[in-house]
C-alpha cells in the first residue's frame, strides 16, 4: 500500500510536468489556433542548451539553467517570427504542420550535434533522498517539481487574472479579430506567448532530465501523455490541462507499480478513449456550441 501511495505521489510530480507542457500547448492553441507539435523538441533543446553550458562552457548548474531559460525565450520568439508568422493566410492547418516540420528539424539538429553520446546523465538540482512521511518517502525531486510547478502556475494565473498583458492575452484567445480591432498588439502578444511556452518547456526538461536522462527524443514519449492529459482536461481549458495531466501521471504511475510498465501505458490510452466517448468536452472543457 505504501508503495502504491508513493507511486501516486511521484505520479503527481510527473503529472505536473506533463501539465506544464500541456499548459504551454493549450495557451498557444487558444491564442493562435495552432497545436504546437514542436513543444516537446523545443523543451529537449532547452535541456541540451543547459547541459552544453555546463559541459562545454564549464558553467555551474544554476548559471546553465539561467542561460537555458533565456536562450529558450529568445528561441521561442525566433520560432514565432521565422516559422509561424509569415503567410498567415495559409491557415492554421498549414501552420500546425509547420510546427511538425520544425519538431523534426530540431530533432535532426540535436541528433547531429549530440546524438552520438546520448543519453547523457543530467545533474539533479536537489540532492538527498527526500522527506519521510509515515511509512514511505517523498523524493526530494518530487517536492522540487511540485514547488516549481506551483510557483510558475500561480504566477501565470495571477498574470492572466490581473495584469494588462494577461487580460490582453485572454481577449486575443477568445476573439483574435476583435482584439486587433480594439488596438491590442497581436504580434507582440503572440511573440510573448511563444517565449513563455518555450521557457515552460525548458523548465520541464531540466526537471525531468535527472530521472530520465537527456537524449534528443527524451520528450517525445512524454508528449503523448501530455496530449492525453490535455484532452482529458478539456482541450481548451488551462486548468484542465494541468488537472488532466496530473490524473494521467497518477494513473500511469500507480498502474506501472501495481501491474507493469506496459499496463501503465495501456491504461492511459484506454482512459483517453473512454473520456472521448463519454465526455468529449473533457473534464473542465465546454461542449462545442454554435450560435445561430
Amino acid at each position: 500500500m505504501g508503495l502504491l501511495l508513493s507511486a501516486g505521489i511521484s505520479g503527481i510530480a510527473v503529472g505536473l510536468l506533463y501539465g506544464m507542457i500541456g499548459f504551454a500547448i493549450v495557451m498557444l492553441y487558444k491564442s493562435t489556433g495552432v497545436a504546437n507539435f514542436a513543444q516537446g523538441t523545443l523543451a529537449t533543446l532547452g535541456g541540451f542548451v543547459c547541459w552544453a553550458s555546463m559541459t562545454d562552457l564549464g558553467l555551474p548548474l544554476w548559471a546553465a539553467i539561467v542561460v537555458a531559460l533565456v536562450a529558450s525565450a529568445v528561441l521561442g520568439v525566433a520560432v514565432y517570427f521565422v516559422v509561424i508568422r509569415p503567410r498567415p493566410s495559409a491557415g492554421n492547418l498549414n501552420i500546425t504542420v509547420r510546427t511538425l516540420g520544425l519538431s523534426l528539424l530540431l530533432l535532426a539538429v540535436m541528433e547531429w550535434r549530440w546524438g552520438a553520446g546520448a543519453p547523457y546523465r543530467f545533474p539533479a538540482i536537489v540532492e538527498g533522498t527526500g522527506v519521510q512521511v509515515a511509512d514511505f518517502v517523498v523524493p526530494a525531486q518530487s517536492l522540487l517539481i511540485a514547488a516549481v510547478a506551483a510557483a510558475i502556475m500561480g504566477t501565470l494565473w495571477a498574470l492572466f487574472r490581473y495584469s494588462n498583458v494577461g487580460l490582453s492575452f485572454r481577449a486575443m484567445a477568445e476573439q483574435p479579430d476583435t482584439a486587433r480591432l480594439l488596438g491590442l498588439p497581436a504580434t507582440r502578444l503572440s511573440a510573448a506567448t511563444w517565449a513563455i511556452s518555450a521557457v515552460l518547456g525548458t523548465v520541464v526538461a531540466i526537471l525531468l532530465a535527472p530521472s530520465s536522462f537527456l537524449a534528443p527524443s527524451t520528450m517525445e514519449s512524454y508528449l503523448l501523455f501530455t496530449f492525453t492529459g490535455i484532452v482529458l482536461g478539456g482541450l481548451t481549458s488551462l486548468p484542465g490541462a494541468l488537472l488532466g495531466s496530473v490524473i494521467v501521471g497518477v494513473v500511469s504511475n500507480v498502474t506501472i507499480v501495481a501491474l507493469s510498465l506496459e499496463a501503465g501505458v495501456l491504461v492511459v490510452f484506454a482512459l483517453l478513449l473512454v473520456v472521448m466517448l463519454l465526455r468529449p468536452q473533457g473534464l473542465l472543457g465546454r461542449p462545442e456550441s454554435v450560435r445561430l
Binding site: L167, S168, A171, A179, R180, L181, G183
Partner: protein
C-alpha cells in the same frame, strides 16, 4: 498626454476615391466621405451595399485603396492598432463583446487597446454616462442581453478616448426601447467628449433622429440624403 486631451482635440476624417471589397468582389467604388470634427454622421443603405466594409476600411481591418485617407491631418495606415492609437474606435457589427471576460474587464481591454494614460478617471467618466452598466460590471459579458452587450461594446469603445467613434449596426436585433436609450446615450456622450460619430445602421429613422447628417451608400458611393424626404429615400433604397 493628459487624460481627455485626445478626446477634446478635434479631428476631421477625409476620404476620397476609396475602393475596397472582398477579393475580386469590390464593394466600394470610389467613395468620398468627409466627417467634420464633432459631427454626427449616419450611414444608411440596404444590406450588402458596403456599410460595414466602409468602417472596416477606415480602421484598417481590410485591404483598401484610396487617393486620400486622412484623420486629423495624418494619413490612416492599414492597421487597426494604429487606427485606435490615432483616435478611432470601432464598435463592430454584432457587438463582439469578450464573452468570457467581465464587463469591467471588457472596459479595461478598451483602455489597454487605446493606450489610455489615466484609465481610472476615463473609465469613471464613461460609466457615469451609462449608469445602467454599473450593476453589470462584475458579470460575464457573454451572459448579458443583446441591448446590454451593445451598451458594453459602445462603452468599451468610448473608454479608448476616441476622437471618432464608429458604430456598426447599433439597432440590429434590439428592442425599440433599447435602441432609443442606447442611441441617445451614445450621441450625447460623443457630443460631450467632442468626438465625431460615424454610425452605420439599417434603421434610417433612428439615424435621422440623432445625426447631423445622413448619407446613403448606393452602388459603392455615398449620396447625401434628407432622411425626412421619404420619396428620395425610397428611390435610393429600391
Amino acid at each position: 498626454m493628459t487624460a481627455g486631451s485626445r478626446a477634446a482635440a478635434s479631428a476631421a476624417l477625409r476620404i476620397s476615391n476609396l475602393r475596397a471589397g472582398y477579393g475580386k468582389a469590390r464593394v466600394l467604388h470610389g467613395l468620398d466621405l468627409a466627417v467634420e470634427p464633432g459631427e454626427m454622421v449616419g450611414v444608411a443603405g440596404p444590406n450588402g451595399v458596403g456599410k460595414s466594409t466602409l468602417l472596416k476600411a477606415i480602421s484598417g481591418l481590410m485591404p483598401r485603396m484610396a487617393d486620400r485617407m486622412e484623420f486629423g491631418g495624418a494619413p490612416l495606415k492599414q492597421s487597426p492598432v494604429d487606427a485606435v492609437v490615432q483616435g478611432i474606435a470601432h464598435v463592430p457589427e454584432g457587438r463582439r463583446v469578450l464573452a468570457d471576460l467581465t464587463v469591467e474587464e471588457n472596459l479595461r481591454i478598451g483602455g489597454i487597446g487605446g493606450r489610455v494614460q489615466d484609465f481610472a478617471s476615463v473609465r469613471q467618466g464613461v460609466v457615469d454616462r451609462f449608469p445602467s452598466i454599473v450593476p453589470l460590471l462584475h458579470r460575464k459579458a457573454g451572459l448579458l442581453s443583446g441591448g446590454q452587450q451593445q451598451l458594453v461594446a459602445i462603452a468599451r469603445g468610448l473608454v479608448a478616448q476616441p476622437r471618432l467613434l464608429m458604430v456598426d449596426e447599433l439597432s440590429l436585433g434590439l428592442s425599440p426601447t433599447a435602441v432609443a436609450s442606447i442611441s441617445a446615450a451614445t450621441v450625447s456622450s460623443c457630443r460631450e467628449l467632442g468626438a465625431s460619430l460615424l454610425w452605420v445602421d439599417q434603421n434610417l429613422a433612428i439615424l435621422g433622429k440623432h445625426c447631423d447628417r445622413v448619407i446613403l451608400l448606393r452602388d459603392g458611393v455615398a449620396v447625401d440624403i434628407d432622411p425626412r424626404d421619404t420619396g428620395a429615400t425610397n428611390s435610393a433604397y429600391f
